[in-house]
C-alpha cells in the first residue's frame, strides 16, 4: 500500500524499448508529479459516473414529491406499464414508480449513513493503528482482522434478527436507521486495513517528523498533517462503503430482515418476491428496482475509478504509455515500409 500514495517523481528509469524516449512512463509520471493535481480530471468514466449518480440522487430526492403516494393501494392490481402508471402496479395495487422513487430515497439513505459509520470506524481503527504503531497497532489490527475474517452477511443477519426481536426499541427496532447502523458496524474492516497502510507510510515522512519535533500533539498531527493526504483514499473508501451498504440492504430486505417501516429498493424486491412477481411474469415490478441498484453501484464505481487513478498513477499512465509505444512502433514500421518500397 505504501507506494500507492507516494508522490510520483521522475526517478523511475524505465524508458521505452522503442525510439520514443521523450514520451515514456517515467516522463509521463514526472509531468503528472509537477502538475500536483488534487481533483480528478474529467474523463469519460468520471463524467458518466457523476451523471448516473446525479440523476439517481435527484430521482430519489425529488421523485417522491412528484409521483404520488407510494402507500396508495387504490389502483388496479398488476397492471403492466401504461401512460397512467409508467411502471405498472403491484399485486396490492401500489404504483411501482411511486414505490421505486421512495425506495431509491430509502436505499440512498441507508447507503450514505452506513457508509459514513463504516468510514468513521475505519478512520479510528486504521489511522490510529497506523500512526501510533506498537501495541496500539497490534490491538486495533487484531480487532480489525477478526472483523475481516468473520463472514459479513451471516453476521448481519444474526445481529439484525436479535435486534429486531428485542423488546423496548419500539419503532426503532425495524427502522432503516438501525439497518444502516448494523451494516456500518459490520462493514468497516477492509477500509481500516487500507487506511492503516497509508497512515503508516505517511508517518515516516519528513514533514510529520518535523511536526513531532516541533512538539505538536499527536491528534493535531493526525488531523492537520495526515488526514488531508488521505482525502482521495477516504473518498474511495466512503464510496466502497456506500456500494456495500446499498447492496447489503437489498439482500437483507430481500430476505425479509430489512426495515419494515420505510420503503427501500430492497423491500420493493421483497414485496415482489412474496407477491410471486417472477412466476406471474410481472417484470415491471422486480426489474426496475434491481436495475437502479445496479446503476447506483456502477455509477459509484466509475467515480471510484477516477479516484483510483489519482491514488495509483500507474493504472492511468501505464496504459497511456503502452498506447504511445504501440503508436511509435506502428509509425516506425510504416516508415521502414516506405524505405523498402523506395
Amino acid at each position: 500500500m505504501a507506494e500507492l500514495i507516494e508522490a510520483p517523481t521522475g526517478a523511475r528509469t524505465d524508458a521505452g524499448t522503442y525510439d520514443a524516449p521523450a514520451d515514456t512512463h517515467a516522463v509521463a509520471v514526472a509531468r503528472m508529479g509537477r502538475s500536483g493535481r488534487v481533483l480528478p480530471r474529467i474523463t469519460g468514466k468520471l463524467l458518466s459516473g457523476l451523471i448516473i449518480i446525479g440523476a439517481i440522487t435527484l430521482f430519489g430526492l425529488l421523485g417522491p414529491l412528484v409521483v404520488g403516494d407510494p402507500h396508495d393501494a387504490s389502483h388496479e392490481p398488476l397492471l403492466p406499464p401504461s401512460p397512467a402508471h409508467l411502471l405498472g402496479t403491484t399485486k396490492l395495487g401500489h404504483d411501482v414508480l411511486a414505490q421505486i422513487a421512495t425506495g431509491t430515497q430509502g436505499s440512498l439513505f441507508v447507503g450514505v449513513v452506513a457508509g459514513l459509520v463504516a468510514l468513521l470506524l475505519a478512520l479510528v481503527f486504521g489511522v490510529l493503528a497506523g500512526y501510533f504503531g506498537g501495541a496500539v497497532d497490534e490491538v486495533l489490527m487484531l480487532i480489525t482482522n477478526i472483523m475481516l475474517v468473520i463472514p459479513g452477511l451471516p453476521l448481519v443477519m444474526i445481529i439484525a434478527t436479535y435486534v429486531q426481536h428485542t423488546e423496548g426499541l419500539g419503532a426503532l427496532a425495524r427502522s432503516s436507521l438501525l439497518v444502516a447502523l448494523v451494516l456500518g458496524i459490520t462493514g468497516w474492516a477492509g477500509s481500516a486495513v487500507v487506511l492503516r497502510g497509508t497512515a503508516r507510510s505517511l508517518r515516516t515522512r519528513d514533514y510529520v517528523a518535523a511536526s513531532v519535533v516541533a512538539g505538536e500533539r499527536p491528534l493535531r498531527i493526525i488531523f492537520v498533517e495526515i488526514l488531508p493526504n488521505l482525502v482521495p483514499l477516504l473518498a474511495a473508501q466512503l464510496i466502497f462503503g456506500v456500494i456495500f451498504a446499498v447492496l447489503g440492504e437489498a439482500g437483507l430486505s430481500y430476505l425479509g430482515l430489512g426495515p419494515t417501516g420505510s420503503i427501500t429498493l430492497g423491500t420493493v424486491l421483497n414485496d415482489a418476491q412474496t407477491g410471486q412477481a417472477v412466476g406471474s411474469g410481472a417484470w415491471w415490478w422486480f426489474v426496475p428496482p434491481g436495475a437502479i441498484i445496479a446503476l447506483i453501484g456502477t455509477g459509484l464505481s466509475l467515480i471510484n475509478f477516477a479516484i483510483d487513478e489519482i491514488v495509483n498513477p500507474k493504472l492511468r499512465l501505464a496504459p497511456a504509455a503502452a498506447r504511445r509505444q504501440r503508436r511509435a512502433q506502428r509509425a516506425e514500421a510504416a516508415t521502414r515500409g516506405e524505405e523498402v518500397a523506395a
Partner: protein, 334 residues
C-alpha cells in the same frame, strides 16, 4: 518462525472471538431468546414435555436468565461446543442442528465451490489478457465488469429465472433436484445426478456472472502494474517472446494476490450465496440460515454461523500456509 507464531496466535484469538460472539449475542439482548426457543420447541413437539437434556442444552447455548454467573455459563457453553453439541432445531424438530448442517453442507459446497472455481479461472485468464492488452479497446471492458459487479446477485437470479424458467420453460425454478421425480430424496443414480446438474445450472450461472468481474478487474490491474516493472523490461530487452513474458513473467507475479483471494473465496463457499439459495430454494447452508432466522430458531442460527466462521478460518489458515511458500516476502514482512 516468528511469522508462523503470530499467525497461529491470531487464529486462536479469532476462533475464541467467534465462539464468544456467538455466546454473548443472545445474552446481550434484553429479551429472553432461551425462553422463546423453548416455547417454540414445546409447540414443535406437539405439547409433549421436552426432555431434560434438551432444555439443559438450550439453556447452555442461549443463556439461563437465572442466577448462574455469566462466567459459569461461559464455561458450560465451551464444554458444549467442544463436544460438538449444537442443540436441537425448533423449525425442524426433532432434528439436531448438527445433522441438519451435515445434510445441507454437500449441496452448498458442490454448487458454490464449482461456481467459484469456474469464475476464478475465467476471471484470471481474461484479466491477464486484458492487462496485457492495456491501452487498447479492451480497457473499455473495465466499466462493463463494474456493472456486472454492481448487480445485486439475487436480482440477477430473479431475472434469469424469469427468462429461462418462466418464459422459456427450459430450466427448473427451484430446489436442488426434481422433488417430484425423486420424492424419496437423494439416491445414487445417473438420472438423479442429471437432475442435480440441471437444477444447479441457473444458480451456478448467477454466481459466476456476478463474481467474475472482481477476479477480472483485480488480475487486470495487477497485470498492468507488473508490466511496468523493471524485470519485465529486462525480459523484453533480452528479446524473449511476448507470450513467454506474459505467461512466465508478468502473469505469474500478477496472480499472487488473486490466489490469496481465491483461497479466501473458497472459505466463503460455505457462507455461500445465502440470498441466491433463497431465490432458488436450494437445499444448502444458506437456506438453512434463512429458515433459522425466519423461524427465530436461535440454536440453528448459532450453529450455522459457527460452521460458516470455522470454514472461513480454516481457509485463511490454508491460504497463509500456501502464501508463505508462494511469496517469501510475506514471511519476512508479516
Amino acid at each position: 518462525m516468528r511469522f508462523w507464531t503470530r499467525r497461529v496466535v491470531f487464529y486462536v484469538i479469532t476462533l475464541w472471538a467467534a465462539v464468544s460472539l456467538n455466546f454473548l449475542l443472545p445474552r446481550m439482548m434484553p429479551g429472553d431468546p432461551a425462553a422463546i426457543m423453548i416455547g417454540k420447541l414445546r409447540r414443535a413437539s406437539g405439547g409433549r414435555p421436552l426432555s431434560e437434556a434438551t432444555i439443559t442444552s438450550i439453556h447452555a447455548l442461549l443463556g439461563t436468565g437465572k442466577d448462574t454467573s455469566l462466567w459459569d455459563q461461559y464455561l458450560v457453553y465451551w464444554g458444549r461446543m467442544l463436544q460438538g453439541d449444537l442443540g436441537v432445531s425448533s423449525t425442524r424438530y426433532p432434528a439436531s442442528v448438527g445433522d441438519l448442517i451435515a445434510d445441507a453442507l454437500p449441496w452448498t459446497v458442490t454448487l458454490v465451490g464449482t461456481a467459484t472455481v469456474i469464475s476464478f479461472v475465467i476471471g484470471i485468464v481474461a484479466g491477464a489478457w486484458a492487462g496485457w492488452r492495456r491501452g487498447t479497446w479492451v480497457d473499455q471492458l473495465v466499466p462493463v465488469t463494474t456493472f456486472l459487479q454492481s448487480i445485486p446477485y439475487f436480482w440477477l437470479a430473479l431475472v434469469l429465472v424469469a427468462v429461462f424458467s418462466v418464459q422459456l420453460g427450459l430450466l427448473p425454478i427451484f430446489g436442488g433436484y426434481g422433488v417430484f421425480e425423486y420424492p424419496a430424496g437423494p439416491e445414487w443414480s445417473l438420472g438423479f445426478l442429471g437432475s442435480v446438474v440441471v437444477h444447479a445450472l441457473l444458480p451456478a450461472t448467477t454466481i459466476v456472472i456476478s463474481s467474475v468481474g472482481g477476479w477480472l478487474l483485480g488480475m487486470r490491474n495487477m497485470m498492468v502494474q507488473e508490466m511496468a516493472e523493471d524485470y519485465v523490461l529486462t525480459a523484453e530487452a533480452k528479446g524473449l517472446r511476448p507470450s513467454r513474458i506474459r505467461r512466465a513473467y508478468a502473469a505469474r507475479n500478477a496472480a499472487i494476490p488473486s490466489l490469496a483471494g481465491f483461497g479466501i473465496a473458497l472459505g466463503f463457499v460455505v457462507a455461500g450465496s445465502i440470498v441466491t439459495e433463497q431465490v432458488f430454494s436450494y437445499p444448502g447452508i444458506g437456506k438453512l440460515m434463512i429458515q433459522a432466522v425466519q423461524g427465530l430458531d436461535y440454536a440453528l442460527m448459532q450453529g450455522v454461523f459457527l460452521v460458516i466462521t470455522l470454514t472461513v478460518l480454516a481457509a485463511n489458515v490454508l491460504v497463509d500456509l500456501l502464501y508463505g511458500f508462494i511469496d517469501p516476502r510475506v514471511r519476512r514482512n508479516g
